[in-house]
Symmetry: C2
Subunit: 420 residues, 2 copies
């Protein structure tokens, strides 16, 4: 009942690995932290290629890029195909990048087939999705969706104390367009991404239809003890900040297991970093996730209270700041249906499964504003945020096919709604 345009598997694959040159690491991974020279280079590639396909590129005040291919009714807000081109410090070649490249490829396929959509199609690169350099994930889609204040975003500092706002200007990607869904609306948002986990691989399903995203958040924990000489200070006279922090890290892991959620301490910094001195101050991050928002908040409350007990037992002070919370969300039934139908056409009724996303994605923010859903493909070894991150060329092309098909299905629904 619906015409599929055939994706060019090798061209998508070649483009993906061609653009990996910006931030490529010797181990085959990519280190492309947001607003760095590597990020600037891949953004310039994005703009050039979008314009070659006849798409006009809009840049907003958060550096979000919108490559818009016109439709038959350009008074309609575009249907978005969005993801991100930034990576983790030791990241791979697929996380985020595949979703943007598949979008660019989708515009090429539509152009080659002279297919004119009803609504315009916007391929979007959202800025600082990873939150690796500036520690708030999905920062710029959050501003677009009105979830995060732009001044707050601009005032984020990286590890060297550099401001997000200054760095955005420095690479020349601070646009004039207001970073807002009101000034720059979308009719819908579809995101194509690797699963980053082992579920699809274990279930032997090439396509995942994403029904929502688990809740998640970050704490910054500061443990303050007392620097003392380690050879001369009896064990019972100490306020060892790293010992207290270690017991917190061990404990928060148990709390997550007991709460049916997940937690990770990904960053730790201890002072003064001398083998002969008892650490006087330790700062660490806590990432937590849960499918249920109330259970997630209860997990955080319990962590706060048990950390206070551990600090007290070790003669330390503890300060806990929640710097980020992203509620669990459910995606839009119409978008989920478009992805499901596209998956059935592409891999058959047994080739796909529904699942929630475990990681944060810009689609969480768009889902507050417009109909949203996502397409997943298997991650080899369930590995992501690592140079060995890999998905097969076949899976990459198949997922892109499902993405385009889902977008065109939604476009048809839009047309039906607005012309009858």
């Amino acid at each position: 009942m619906f015409i599929l345009f055939v994706f060019n598997q090798s061209r998508l694959w070649d483009t993906l690995h061609h653009t990996a040159q910006w931030g490529a690491t010797p181990d085959g991974g990519v280190r492309r932290l947001t607003l760095t020279p590597e990020d600037k280079a891949v953004r310039e590639w994005f703009v050039q290629h979008a314009e070659e396909i006849g798409a006009a590129v809009k840049i907003d005040q958060m550096g979000n890029l919108f490559a818009i291919r016109p439709g038959r009714n350009n008074s309609m807000p575009p249907i978005g195909i969005g993801s991100h081109l930034d990576t983790q410090p030791a990241g791979g070649r697929y996380d985020g990048i595949l979703g943007v490249q598949a979008g660019i490829e989708a515009l090429k396929v539509l152009k080659e087939n002279n297919y004119e959509t009803y609504a315009p199609i916007a391929v979007i690169n959202w800025t600082n999705e990873e939150g690796a350099r500036f520690n708030t994930g999905m920062l710029s889609s959050g501003v677009w969706a009105g979830q995060i204040d732009q001044d707050y975003a601009y005032n984020h500092r990286d590890a060297d104390g550099k401001l997000f706002g200054d760095e955005l200007k420095a690479i020349g990607f601070q646009g004039s367009l207001e970073a807002s869904h009101k000034a720059n609306p979308l009719s819908a948002h579809f995101e194509y991404h690797i699963e980053q986990g082992p579920v699809l691989l274990d279930a032997k399903k090439p396509i995942g239809v994403v029904t929502g995203v688990q809740g998640m958040g970050w704490l910054i924990v500061t443990v303050t003890g007392r620097c003392q000489h380690c050879g001369t200070t009896p064990m019972d006279r100490r306020a060892d900040a790293l010992l207290a922090a270690s017991r917190m890290i061990s404990r928060v892991n148990e709390i997550a297991l007991e709460s049916g959620g997940m937690t990770t301490v990904g960053v730790i910094n201890s002072e003064p970093q001398s083998p002969g001195t008892i650490p006087g101050k330790v700062v660490f991050s806590v990432d937590f996730c849960h499918l249920d928002n109330d259970a997630m908040d209860a997990m955080v409350a319990r962590t706060r209270s048990e950390f206070a007990d551990i600090a007290k037992a070790h003669n330390n002070e503890v300060g806990i700041e929640q710097i980020w919370r992203s509620a669990a969300v459910k995606f839009h039934p119409e978008c989920i249906d478009c992805v499901t139908q596209a998956a059935i056409d592409s891999v058959g009724p047994d080739g796909y499964m529904e699942l929630p996303a475990g990681a944060g994605h810009d689609s969480v923010n768009t889902s507050y504003i417009c109909p949203t859903s996502m397409v997943f493909i298997p991650s080899q070894g369930g590995i992501s945020h690592h140079p060995s991150e890999y998905s097969t060329p076949e899976d990459c092309a198949q997922g892109a096919q499902v993405l385009l098909d889902a977008v065109l299905r939604f476009d048809k629904k839009l047309e039906a709604t607005h012309t009858h």
Copy 2:
């Protein structure tokens, strides 16, 4: 039965705080890492002042400085008064520094009183005692004592990868004299130091007669897991290197308590330091101490075996390298007796106590070669390796008095032995 020369309390105090300018931190502490420009500056001060008192300064191939005031019999090896001018990264104004300054002050007092000793007196600044920049404590006295190979010492790298040997040349303090007790012998070694612990303060004793030093050592532990995305990797599929390391740090603390020893993890580095990524590699140091050498080695063996179990339980690999071991030592009865008699003369029979040193000192290395002992004074709050490290001007002068008196007593014993 013995003439005491009166120390100039305010002059010692003023000198101590004058030289704190090299590496002074806003919080009143000192950051004077070995072989840095700050270390170079205080070394130049040392040479200039020693020469003004009429002492000749010898520099050996490890940068150890020997300021030698001649005696009546200069065929006798000098009696050493040694300590160090380097500090911890966030150190105080007394640890090590006081012992060298008191030595310089002692030479001034002898000169002012026109007192000619039998043996020459050498005030010594030992290089890299702290092991904070180049991670082996008491490095250069160790080379002098034949405990550490000089090439091994030269090949130590700091956190920036700079070599000890290159940095020593760079500040212009690589001497031509062989760094060896054979080429450059001492008749004895006396060291004056703050206690760095709470024992003297609690016991209300202004002077500590140090009978020996507890055994100690350092391990470098490398825990290797797998970087994975924290939101998408089920808890039971992880190899979280920081979680494993945290449980090791917690456990080694219990092992120390159970063994009657002490342990501290002072340095920890985790990779890749992103809140959204499970750490794949953690490296940390373990400092351990024990008064009994066998018990100390048993403590290390148990740590190795339990760390291996913890690593296995968390799907991690662990590598453990012992980079330093300093056996527990007992000081020389004659030197201990000289310090004891000097203490009695200065503070009376109830004013002192005997105790072992909890920290490593260059006197551990000299004690393998020549008669050695130490003088301690109270540390306010038992605090050391911290900017708030403090001892009163009265205590500082009193300890220096005991130091000089003990040295002169040993000098008399030497003369008696060699002239009768």
